[in-house]
Amino acid sequence: MNMVTLTIDGIQVTVPSNYTILEAAREAHITIPTLCYLKDINQIGACRICLVEVAGARGLMASCVTQVGEGMEVKTNTEKLRKARKLNLELLLSDHNRECTSCVRSENCEFQKLCREYGVEDYPYDGAKAPAELDDFSPSIIRDNSKCIKCRRCVAVCTNVQKIGAIGAIGRGFKSKIACAFDKSLADSPCVNCGQCITACPVGALREKSSIDEVWMAINDPDKYVVVQPAPAVRASIGEEFGMPMGTPTTGKLAAALKRLGFDKVFDTDFGADMTIMEEGTELIARLNDKDAVLPMITSCSPGWVKYCETFFPDFIPNLSSCKSPHEMLGAAVKSYFAEKNNIDPAKIFVVSVMPCTAKKFEAKRPELSNNGLADVDCVLTVRELARMIKQAGINYAELPDEDFDDLLGESTGAGVIFGATGGVMEAALRTVYEKVTGKTLEKVDFEAVRGTEGIKEAEIDLDGKKIRVAVAHGTGNAKKLLESVRSGEKSYEFIEVMGCPGGCVTGGGQPIVSSSDLMVKDVKALRAKALYTEDANKPLRKSHENVQLQKLYAEYLGEPGGHKAHELLHTHYEQRPMFK
């Protein structure tokens, strides 16, 4: 690689010639402020906050889009630059809804932080405001354009990474805005509710539709029996909301916090994940043994992916596993098995799922995910919402003791835990499918080929002589690439795992928001996934079918995996969806 040497604030630094000044400065441990920049996703030089002085250049340069050159002399910290950056912040602020105290992003707003750092104390350019609109028709995501600074980070992740483009830059001049085609609501657009736009947004223009009030109301209602379940990926990330280092697993504290919030039962979606493996593994084996069955079978745990498939690849609907997602399976078991065993009227049970996901809010409202007219899951909270509730309750999360989930539907194996990372569902399924197909004990349970953050992973798995080809994609953009290669006949597999978000659930749209400056130096996907793989490695049981409480559920209630009762409660169907309503 060609290297060049340049000087930044008097410090000599040698970097690859394709680096930007911003990247080179980071090598020299110099921080240049940014706002519209998002590493690997948005580099468009639009906000003019990352300005630098380059000797010999006309005007100030946006460091995020200016390539380095041999002998370049750069200054990042001059009075001229500080003034220019402050002026740009003041101009952005002139058309920003400054409701900071009631804004959900207060204290982790990148714009607010910069304004404070640059001493913006007044609104010198207060004038006309662009027409602001609030789109709250989606069950998952609220768009509030009054707070939008038009950095386009959301558009970049939706269009370039997820390959959906539900939102775009619309109109011109003062009236330009981020919106859906034909000014439709997100709810009527091809949006799959993944929420990647929320975690990309530097301000409060995008947020989840909050269910906190609904959950508090249920907890306070003496007639309701409120059951909660957190998804695998929640334990890998929620500590960050309380100042703990990224990648710290806090499973025991999570169970303890949920008990202190007043839920009647604290179960674990990891148990639902183990259930999913029993059902999905059985379905895969049945499909492999039936020469007329549709293959590859594709996982159906990720509701962002499922809606993407229904909207963009309806020809692959028959490939989707008929399994409900883990929290829906657990919800169905709570309102049937648990209710019967404890003599509770299922109509009085209120199931709350804590998910790393905004698409789960949409999923929970699917009418087909119900039994006897009762929704399997009543309400979905994101990790961010749960953290707010814990703060509202005055619980000191970091100091909590480790506690266990409640019995009956609270046990889990390592296979259930790794569901939260890309490749995890595949690996968990293979551990069980191997033993079911071969009748032998799987000695080496780690399937390293399907781990890691590469966009598309492929492997050939030897089931004692019978070979199956598998692939894993994360992010709908990678799923698109993978499905197109299957559709064209270029690739052929028996089993595919897709998660709708890049990195899988650990970096889902409902996860704690990581600032763009942290994203420059931290591999969030890998750090949070490591927390799950470590927990898996430390579990005494690491295969879903070894889960003792789950074995009991099948023996006492469900019968055989894939049997009649299991089908009634744990399986679902899909429908083709139009791009626009």
Binding site: V155, T159, I164, G165, A166, I167, G168, A169, I170, G171, R172, S176, A179, C180, A181, F182, S189, P190, M579, F580
Partner: protein, 158 residues
Amino acid sequence: MALTNEQLEQYTAELKAFIADHKDIDGPLMPIMQKAQELFGYLSLDTQKIIADALDIPVSEVYGVATFYAQFSLQPKGDNIISVCTGTACYVKGAQAVLDEVVNILGVEPGQTSADGKFTIQDTRCLGCCGLAPVMTVNHDVYGRLTAGDVKGILEKY
């Protein structure tokens, strides 16, 4: 003017042929959108979807371009195009009152088409006949030295 089904089919086929010829050039979006506008007179959601699908880009991107340039129209044009000049001379001579009256009678804003499809009000600056200010045109007919009171009679002619 509303298109017949035959026209719709014919224009759609023409557009698809044009796209096939142009999708691999550098920057194919603008010429294709211009062709679509020329064929249909405006860019409907369906037309924009055809373009987006063919180029494998989101509809929001096509819509973004369509709303950026004033030359693109998102609504079918009416049978008659009304232009009320709001250039400096006409404005000073009271064009706003004339335009307000047109808007008032037709019930739609500039850039839009009346519900009966008869009139489209077009955003207009100088028409080049400031001596007649304030001026409006309906298609190629020019009406000068207007007051708001003249508008009703003029529209009734069409």
